[in-house]
């Protein structure tokens, strides 16, 4: 029987090894898999490369993972926000490296990684500092750059509902990077507010088919990361 359920967030992330590349879902706090990230901090894996849209807020979630010194490199589009002091100070101290990628290029590179497309051309970033050093080519008179697929060993993703096959639906704009990160990672680890029986999710509305998901853990009352940040919480 196929059963991708884990009994705890700690069990779900136990497979993450030192030096792994980990995609982390969420756009700001929406969709941030806070419980999985905290379990990963407890787990202790280090030397991680994190691929995520942002670089964490406050001193919880991804910011706490970075603060704990576990992250060598962040690949993201927007590591700056009102509450991103942790990344800023670690970056300025040379303790974390940054690959800055335009947001749509980041999303498309992740999708390409999941879809078996090793590289593609895009006009985005041509003529800008982020386009420098990239291979150029013109299509129908438009200059483009070559972009390479991103893949990861693991993805940490928050969903709304899941079943034991790993089928997922998300909630509102918390969907964001979850579906493509599940596609692009060897082991997609998902926390869902509810884990339901197969068939309870209408096959027409599944957003992430189970084939893209390897581990599922129910987290009934996930923390609202933005609330934790407002309250000044830190982890651990």
């Amino acid at each position: 029987m196929i059963d991708k359920r884990c009994s705890s967030a700690h069990e779900a992330v136990a497979c993450v090894h030192d030096g792994a590349t980990v995609m982390i879902g969420g756009f700001g706090s929406a969709g941030s898999p806070v419980e999985l990230i905290h379990a990963l901090i407890d787990h202790g894996a280090r030397g991680l490369t994190v691929i995520s849209n942002n670089a964490g807020c406050g001193r919880v979630g991804l910011a706490a993972l970075i603060e704990a010194g576990r992250v060598e490199r962040v690949v993201c589009s927007f590591p700056r926000s009102a509450d991103s002091e942790v990344f800023a100070s670690m970056y300025r101290a040379g303790r974390v490296a940054l690959d800055l990628v335009p947001q749509g290029t980041l999303a498309e590179r992740i999708r390409a990684g999941g879809a078996g497309v090793p590289a593609f051309y895009t006009p985005v970033s041509v003529g800008t500092p982020l386009g420098e050093g990239k291979e150029r080519r013109s299509f129908a008179g438009r200059e483009c750059v070559l972009e390479h697929a991103l893949t990861a060993d693991f993805a940490l993703v928050r969903a709304e509902r899941a079943d034991r096959y790993g089928n997922l639906v998300y909630r509102k704009t918390a969907r964001n990077f979850g579906p493509i990160m599940c596609m692009a990672s060897r082991v997609a680890i998902v926390q869902a507010r509810r884990v339901v029986e197969p068939g309870e999710i209408d096959p027409e509305v599944v957003v992430t088919p189970g084939v893209f998901v390897q581990r599922v853990v129910e987290v009934r009352d996930p923390a609202d990361e933005s609330a934790l940040v407002r309250e000044g919480r830190r982890y651990p």
Partner: protein, 223 residues
């Protein structure tokens, strides 16, 4: 001339909103551009897109009704209108890069006479670089409108011959709305289409870093 002479931010947003045709799908940048949504002229229906995965963005929720899972690209709480749709980031940027979004309205640090845009980096060595979706928007959206003060707080021109700050895109801006003027980026240069009340074109030229062609109604043909 003070940066706050002329139109208010609300008025600039209203002017931009007037220029967006009925039925257009619009992406609004963070900051002043967000005001555009409040100034859609009666009888027009625009559909607002936010790149974090929602088409059909509605007004902010009433206090207490915020939903941490329903935010815009500026990470502010929003609502979804009837007829909205949620989608993931690759689909959202397929809309942008694929030319399906008709207009985007962005803030800017500098716009050049040929429509180059600089709006993502101050270029300062200790700044944390952050680009978000700006480069994707200017590369993919059909018509890029810029809303910005005419000069920096220190009075330096933001409309310039060439941008000195790191670029977001090359030759991408269509029209600029400042507190002083509405300016088109045309093949022959920057063309003033409209001046704020009480503002004189020579005064605008004095705080602009590139030549301005006077293209106001009755003065000259459009580009």
């Amino acid at each position: 001339m003070s940066a706050h002479t002329g139109w208010s931010r609300e008025e600039m947003a209203a002017l931009a909103a007037l220029d967006i045709l009925d039925g257009t799908c619009v992406n609004l940048g963070i900051g002043i551009p967000e005001l555009v949504a409040q100034h859609v002229p009666p009888g027009r229906e625009l559909v607002f897109h936010t790149e974090n995965g929602l088409l059909g963005v509605g007004p902010p929720p009433t206090p207490g009704d915020e939903d941490a899972d329903l935010i815009n690209a500026g990470k502010k709480p929003v609502t979804a209108l009837p007829g909205a749709a949620y989608f993931h980031h690759a689909d959202s940027f397929a809309m942008i890069r694929g030319g399906h979004i008709g207009v985007c309205v962005l803030g800017a640090m500098q716009v050049s006479a040929t429509g180059d845009l600089a709006n993502w980096s101050t270029g300062e060595p200790d700044a944390i670089p952050a680009v978000g979706g700006a480069m994707d928007l200017v590369a993919g959206v059909g018509r890029v409108l810029v809303l910005m003060e005419h000069t920096t707080r220190r009075g330096e021109p933001k409309l310039v011959e060439r941008c000195t700050l790191p670029l977001t895109g090359v030759g991408v801006v269509s029209r600029v709305y400042t507190n002083l003027a509405v300016v088109d980026v045309a093949a022959r240069g920057l063309v003033v289409r409209r001046l704020a009340p009480g503002v004189d074109i020579e005064a605008v030229r004095a705080c602009t870093g590139a030549p301005l062609i006077d293209g106001r109604d009755g003065r000259e043909e459009g580009p």
